[in-house]
């Protein structure tokens, strides 16, 4: 396959090497951008503060400085910790984040592997992090982390269902699981004859978008769903015993997953890398695609973090009741409505 940018014949292994390198760079960069723009600056401005200003111009290098700080920290294992499980837990969480990026398209040809079962693969892999969190909770041999791990397990599983069901509505309307196909569907489709801006599924799948965002908020264990890391009760939950670069993995995992889910939401509901006014297979989209994707990701991430800084957190049982009694029925209704409308139109 010709690599459009270099227009030179590349052996398969070279392409995979470049793609893996690209993904390896995207995640830390994405985590840094989200971390800096939202966690540092937007949160500060929302709380009438300035946020970090000393490290680099406007405090941009603050996260880099934090990263360096974490790396040089001592790597402490709790006395009675289960060493291997303790060491592997952050890696499992990080792996699930890396795998999601395989299927996320950024341009007509810019996708690591355009799997036919794209979105299904992404959601399946994203539930890997539950195992990592449970491992961390159990291995730290600390009461607080045990409670945090159990809470996380309960919550992540409870919110997998609405996450998947919200996506089903989109898949029905797009007719395919392949992410590129979903982007194409949103580009060609039109609503009530108005073809110009295509048919971003957010317009027709508003309920799906709402359920998806709420479920993503819970997957990322962010307020109002941050019971597993409720610092005022169980002081950091499963992360409490982690120091040094292992905690860095957790931090990067958290923000990397936020970046990944914002990307999935952008693809599913906001039309991915396609922008009105361009033909779907236009080569120029290979250049501006990533920029469009970045803009849409920042938009979705803004909503995610805006909710994070404004709300108190649910209690454990309210959180579960909200998922099972409200979100799942809502998403089932959404699937039903989409199915009927799909058949009628």
């Amino acid at each position: 396959m010709i690599d459009p940018t270099l227009a030179v014949e590349l052996a398969y292994w070279q392409q995979t090497a470049i793609k893996t390198l690209a993904v390896m760079l995207v995640i830390p960069a994405g985590a840094l951008i989200l971390g800096y723009v939202f966690l540092m600056k937007m949160m500060a401005f929302m709380q009438s503060r300035l946020g970090p200003m000393e490290a680099g111009p406007g405090g941009m290098l603050q996260l880099v400085a934090d990263g360096a700080k974490f790396i040089q920290k001592e790597d402490i294992f709790p006395a009675r910790a289960d060493r291997w499980v303790f060491a592997l837990a952050p890696l499992v969480v990080l792996i699930s984040t890396f795998l999601i990026f395989i299927v996320i398209p950024v341009g007509p040809d810019l996708v690591v592997e355009s799997l036919d079962t794209g979105i299904f693969f992404a959601l399946a892999v994203s539930s890997l992090s539950v195992i990592g969190v449970l491992m961390a909770g159990w291995a730290s041999a600390n009461k607080y982390s045990l409670i945090g791990g159990l809470r996380a397990a309960g919550q992540l599983i409870a919110y997998e269902l609405p996450l998947v069901l919200a996506v089903v509505g989109v898949v029905i309307q797009a007719g395919t699981l392949n992410m590129q196909g979903i982007v194409a569907a949103q580009a060609e489709g039109e609503i009530f004859g108005l073809g110009a801006i295509g048919n971003p599924f957010i317009l027709t799948q508003l309920i799906g978008f709402f359920v998806f965002l709420v479920a993503v908020q819970a997957e990322l264990t962010q307020p109002p769903f941050d019971m597993p890391v409720a610092e005022s009760e169980i002081v950091g939950g499963y992360q409490v015993e982690y120091t040094g670069f292992r905690f860095l993995f957790f931090f990067m995992g958290e923000f990397g997953t936020a970046f990944a889910f914002a990307a999935i939401a952008a693809v599913l509901f906001l039309g991915g890398w396609w922008v009105p006014g361009f033909d779907i297979s236009d080569n120029a989209l290979n250049w501006i695609g990533p920029l469009v994707m970045l803009a849409k990701i920042m938009l979705v991430a803004f909503v995610i973090f805006w909710v994070r800084f404004s709300f108190p957190r649910f209690r454990e049982d309210q959180l579960q009741a909200f998922a099972w009694k409200f979100l799942i029925p809502l998403s089932l209704f959404n699937i039903l409505a989409t199915g009927i409308l799909k058949v009628v139109f």
């Binding site: 949160m43 929302m46 709380q47 009438s48 503060r49 009461k143 607080y144 409670i147 307020p223 109002p224 941050d226 019971m227 409720a230 610092e231 005022s232 009760e233 169980i234 002081v235 800084f309 404004s310 709300f311 108190p312 957190r313 649910f314 209690r315 454990e316 049982d317 309210q318």
Partner: protein, 390 residues
């Protein structure tokens, strides 16, 4: 900094460790979770030993004493001005409000009456201390429930009130401004207008808190019906302040107890709430801060002119006798029982602090709640560690 040798220090720490094993009879059935003494939810060094059955609390008893400074022993070797300087460190958030009952009790023994201007300024600073104290509670209640933003609003607006206290008394947290027979100094120029603008700022802060938390469905879900304390139980434990008024008991020392301060000359309302749950406690305190801002405005309009210090001998020897004065401090009823034998130093001072009783109800109110509710109820009872341990 007492000159305690290292050996004694180590012996003390070893005793502490022994204490934790002996005092708490270990029950292998449930999991015993130690919340504190270093824990974000306990406003300082309170340690709560909670026996959990899963997430359900079987029994929960607070262990105080990590901050015990032995005030009642210290007051036996200090003269009255020295005790005043010492005593506003008990409830370090309601700074000026600690000194007032002690000075009023001493004045009652000496049968001295401060001039009206001093009484008015005392009440203004008393209400400013209440606003500074309770506005931090409003922000902190959000933080305990997971909302990060309200606490920053609280610190931002509370800063202006502390600046006003500092520009009048010299100290932000420990004003040490009250003297037997009056106050130390008069208000500087321009202070009154600046305070009025701060009061309007505090009212917008209360509206923001109402929008951010009070109306919030998640906040209501977390606090309504959580930690319900009925009126009679609250009274038998001696709860006071907003904790008592939110259980439906309409009792406020500012209105009910005769006091030389000027509350009786203002028109203001005592807020009560029938439910007695965490939501009610938050709601009552929010209304009380608004009420205090209106009271301060009225007082600033009606501040009389005149001297600020009555005729009092330089070296104060309080005549023999016993006096008790309690006032409605931000945290609840704080009172001093002074026993004097007529010399420079009080013979015995019993300090009745509000948080001591407010927290003694924790074992009763925490039976069978969930772990997150421990934090909600503790936050809503709103105690200051220095107030419990003295």
């Amino acid at each position: 900094m007492t000159a305690v040798t290292d050996r004694e220090q180590l012996a003390y720490i070893a005793a502490q460790a022994a204490d934790s094993r002996v005092n708490v009879e270990l029950d292998t059935g449930d999991m015993t979770l130690n919340i504190g003494p270093q824990h974000p939810a306990t406003h300082g060094t309170l340690r709560i030993v909670a026996k959990l059955d899963g997430e359900q609390v079987v029994s929960c008893d607070p262990i105080a004493g990590y901050m015990h400074r032995g005030y009642e022993k210290l007051t036996e070797v200090r003269t009255y001005p020295q005790v005043t300087a010492l005593v506003n460190r008990i409830d370090w958030l309601g700074s000026f409000a600690n000194e007032v009952p002690f000075i009023l009790a001493a004045e009652q023994l000496m049968e001295v009456e401060a001039p009206p201007r001093a009484q008015w300024i005392r009440t203004v600073l008393f209400e400013l201390a209440r606003i500074a104290n309770i506005s931090l509670f409003l922000g902190d209640m959000g933080a305990q429930l997971g909302a990060i933003t309200p606490v920053f609003f609280a610190f931002r607006d509370r800063e202006r009130v502390l600046n006003q206290i500092e520009s009048a008394t010299g100290g932000r947290f420990h004003p040490n401004f009250d003297r037997i027979g009056g106050i130390k100094d008069d208000l500087p120029q321009g202070w009154i207008d600046e305070t009025r603008s701060v009061m309007t700022k505090m009212r917008t802060f209360c509206d923001e808190m109402e929008d951010l938390l009070l109306g919030n469905e998640i906040f209501a879900a977390r606090t309504r019906g959580v930690g319900v304390i009925p009126g009679p139980v609250a009274q038998s434990y001696g709860l006071s302040g907003a904790n008592l008024r939110s259980s439906g008991v309409d009792w406020d020392l500012r209105r009910d107890a005769p006091s030389p301060l000027v509350w009786s000359e203002l028109d203001w309302k005592v807020w009560t709430h029938p439910d007695g749950d965490s939501f009610a406690r938050f709601w009552v305190r929010l209304q009380e801060v608004r009420e205090s801002t209106h009271m301060v405005d009225q007082m600033l309009d009606g501040l009389p002119a005149g001297p600020i210090m009555a005729k009092v001998p330089r070296i104060i020897k309080v005549p023999a006798g016993e006096a008790w004065v309690a006032t409605e401090n931000p945290l609840g009823e704080m009172g001093y029982y002074i026993v004097s034998k007529g010399d420079l130093v009080p013979y015995r001072v019993k300090i009745r602090s509000a948080s001591f009783n407010n927290i003694s109800i924790v074992p009763w109110v925490m039976k069978g709640v969930l772990v997150p509710d421990i934090v909600t109820i503790l936050a809503s009872l709103y105690f200051i560690l220095g107030d419990i341990d003295r």
